[in-house]
Subunit: 307 residues, 2 copies
């Protein structure tokens, strides 16, 4: 099991230097999550060979166009390709109204159901949960209601140590109990097999934090402590710190310090201003503080498969 | 003076075979008109080096996404680039509501004014006029309210024959009268200079008809009779004639016969179904009936500069 992040687009505001608007495909527990969907995302998915039918969950951070203008086109194409499966759409209030108005004017009744989950601006809440993972909103500090997302696998069960199996006799129920961390008892409740002798530690639980457009959010250091992967916007380099504050964005230096404080495994920087043709200044500034920083270059896949 | 048509996109419904959704840039009288604006149009404009600032007039045919999903992104980029000039937007009822809702949710107040002109579905009416040209709607037969557009230069003034000027004495007023086709009179109202001796015929007046998604519209043959250039959808080849009727589209054969009946100068075929990887069947079918047919291949510029 692993965590994968494929960058589809990572530029802010205007298209520039062959860089597109925010969109990324995140994979966890064999599920594909599309996070943000700037104009042209479906074209980028074609370029990077992402099948539309794989996507059952879409998360939109906020209603600035560079984060969602490609969504209505993507949904239309899914419809055209005969999608029947439900689609979960986690989004800010307002998006449902926009999409429904557009569908009404094109007299389109989608072949599939969109299950809308509107997040509550300013709050941190679980917006999607399965037995294996949770997705929690991370309230951003931006000009319009905006949320990041924390994807977190739940703790996994202990693993049976197959090398020990020939030495013992176990029922199916014993196996279940061992995976839950329980010892196996005799009828008189004395310990027959100690759990730790027959099991191995669980596989690691992976986690990913997506920080959309925002001023620095030091309040969230504890919330994302130790995530394996952090995507953080770094619209500007630090010489534009004042501009970052004015426009509710973050600098590369700030993002790197945040990653360091939160002790994350790896930092991916994105949402670059069109003013940067070359991104080395952004990367170097971050690496000076947090060496495990990388750039969200389109088409790059970041994989975390062990701790 | 000439008429120019640059094809930006010409595929129907789904992106396919590197073909994009409908968008084209039409130039007449030094004005640039954007006609339809599928998703990614602003990227295609970058590719074909079309400056956004040149465009003061946008015409949208209908509210199917492959004809307008790129508009909100284009307007947002114009705003971002500091546009101040008014923009004329001729469109179906409903588009204003969609755009205003999107702008409201992004808390964006555009730096420029959009002058909305909503066409009346089913009617042919002048939606834009200057002293030099008119734009008239062409009611299409499609599943939702849909309009084509007829761009027509008004008759031009007669041209002064400069070779004759040394032989005569003319006042400024005489020049104006000659251009209007009048003779120059003596005080006793006898003819001093006959108009045709001092002037040449006017330059030709160009015209362009854009037919958006539609079933065949034989009722419009007279309306567009003799236009220099006709863009007509040809979603299917004629073996799909039944499907064309069902989906409110046209075949290449039908479009060619229509062009022939309307005695147009040139026919450009577009809005190709994704089922055609190669477009030769479409072109050959049309050419058999109307030899001056061409395909709306992206990046192609069609120029008409004389009759």
């Amino acid at each position: 099991m692993s965590l994968e992040l494929l960058i589809l687009g990572s530029n802010s505001a205007a298209f520039a230097h062959r860089r597109h608007h925010t969109a990324q495909l995140f994979k966890l527990q064999e599920q594909h999550f599309l996070i943000d969907c700037g104009e042209g995302t479906q074209l980028l998915m074609k370029r990077y060979k992402v099948k539309l039918s794989r996507i059952d969950h879409i998360f939109i951070s906020h209603l600035h166009g560079d984060h969602y203008f490609g969504l209505i086109g993507l949904l239309s194409t899914m419809h055209l390709f005969g999608r029947k499966k439900d689609l979960l759409l986690v989004c800010p209030p307002g998006l449902k109204e926009i999409l429904q108005l557009q569908l009404r004017h094109s007299e389109t009744s989608l072949n599939f159901r969109i299950q809308y989950v509107e997040f509550t601006p300013g709050e941190s809440e679980i917006v999607h949960e399965t037995p294996k993972y949770t997705v929690t909103t991370l309230p951003m500090d931006h000009r319009v209601p905006c949320s990041g997302y924390l994807f977190k696998e739940k703790p996994k069960k202990r693993r049976i140590n197959r090398n020990k199996l020939p030495e013992v006799q176990l029922s199916s129920l014993d196996i279940v109990r061992l995976k839950e961390g329980e010892d196996i008892l005799n009828e008189d409740e004395s310990i027959k097999y100690e759990n730790k002798l027959l099991t191995l530690d669980p596989n690691p639980s992976f986690s990913y934090a997506f920080f959309s457009d925002t001023r620095l959010r030091p309040e969230l250091v504890d919330t994302i402590k130790g995530v394996d992967l952090l995507y953080h916007e770094a619209t500007f380099a630090n010489d534009m710190k004042d501009r970052a504050v004015q426009t509710f964005h973050t600098t590369a230096e700030q993002a790197a310090q945040f990653a360091k404080d939160a002790e994350v495994g790896k930092l991916v920087l994105g949402h670059f201003s069109a003013r940067y043709k070359e991104l080395d200044p952004i990367l170097n500034e971050a690496k000076a503080i947090f060496p495990k920083a990388e750039l969200a270059i389109e088409g790059t896949k970041f994989v975390v498969d062990g701790k």
